[in-house]
Symmetry: C2
Subunit: 195 residues, 2 copies
DNA sequence: TTGATGACAGATTTCAATAATTGTCATCTG
DNA sequence: CAGATGACAATTATTGAAATCTGTCATCAA
């Protein structure tokens, strides 16, 4: 019924657009099909359920957050402490930027993320792994106190919860948030540095 | 219409009871009056609005949390680092206990606290002050690195968000939470200890 | 006089009927 | 045949009329 062939990617983009316009509660498969000019049956050819479609949307969103993060981290010839500071600062900045540029859309993705814990968990695993790698480097090179990098990475992440967890997004509007984050990062780094 | 005189305290207790039974969405002033065997007009003699009544409930609840915390902190002759560890551990334990013993009631109070930010803020100020006092002691006695106790207390609190903020209560069910909290506390203390 | 009452207006919530959505699938089209 | 369609049953959301609640206040009782 249309010129271009309908594929999953196109459907995901259309879904994102509908989500942007109507929010997570009011987007229906029918809306998505309408935007694409196809019947809703065609959408079900590519996704087995509405939940699967929403999951594809959140997966792509999280993929892009990871891309942004990788782009933001300049893996220069810095020492591990400086690299860890840079990594955390970038993690915060990437999330804060997303949350600030379009708070409603961010809230929408937060709902989707809460719905699909598998995707959220694998995103968390990625973040932890980024931290763990820098910690391991620092321990190996003697910049950090000896420790289990896995456990320490988790502690660092946990201490950063306020600056990373979307549930705290409202607080990210405050102008003080940058100073508070810097203060926590310094506290963490001081705790890890070799004596 | 009743033997005992109706006072604000009695009304607050009855409101707590109704909240416990019906949850925050479904408790009405009429329910409270019914439980007390008075007309709802009598409730309005003591509280100008339903919001004011709910605020009184959350104030008393937070008062009691503070009492529990003060009781839990043994101000023994410990060094400031050990006292800070004990303080944070107690703060976590008190909140976790409340959340675990009756999750629905805890969720109810969370709703009330979100409604009345003034009360929440003054509760936060209390917690920060407890931390600040120990930090100041430690800095004065040379146990901690020199720092601004006010700012450091805030950093310590921010790093503890995951273990203190009611929005994270679901995670407090996990058996790993104690180990994770201990790990973050150690990270924080290592960062503060004098070198 | 102090404190309780219940009628009342306006706002909010409930509930059942109505409409829309989800997911399936037999059918159609190129 | 690959891919799209829309009728359909089951589920979920919307709607609007009726019920309930909030907050006020004139009235009453002790």
């Amino acid at each position: 019924m249309r010129g271009e062939p309908l594929d999953a990617e196109t459907i995901v983009s259309a879904t994102e657009e509908v989500l942007r316009r109507h929010g997570p509660e009011k987007t229906t498969v029918l809306d998505v099909a309408r935007l694409l000019g196809v019947s809703h049956g065609s959408v079900y050819r590519h996704f087995p359920s509405k939940a699967a479609l929403r999951e594809a949307v959140i997966r792509r969103w999280l993929d892009r957050v990871r891309e942004d993060l990788v782009a933001a981290v300049q893996d220069a010839e810095l020492t591990p402490p400086d690299r860890l500071r840079g990594l955390l600062t970038s993690m915060f900045a990437v999330k804060w930027a997303k949350a600030r540029e379009d708070p409603e859309l961010f809230a929408t993705f937060r709902v989707l993320a809460a719905e699909h814990s598998t995707e959220s968990r694998s995103h968390l695993a990625f973040l932890l792994d980024q931290i763990r790698a820098v910690v391991a480097d620092g321990v190996a090179g003697g910049d950090f106190e000896p420790c289990d990098p896995e456990a320490t990475a988790r502690a660092v992440y946990n201490a950063s919860t306020r600056f990373l967890d979307p549930r705290h997004a409202p607080e990210w509007q405050s102008p003080e948030i940058e100073a508070e984050a810097a203060s926590v990062i310094s506290l963490i780094l001081d705790g890890m540095r070799a004596r």
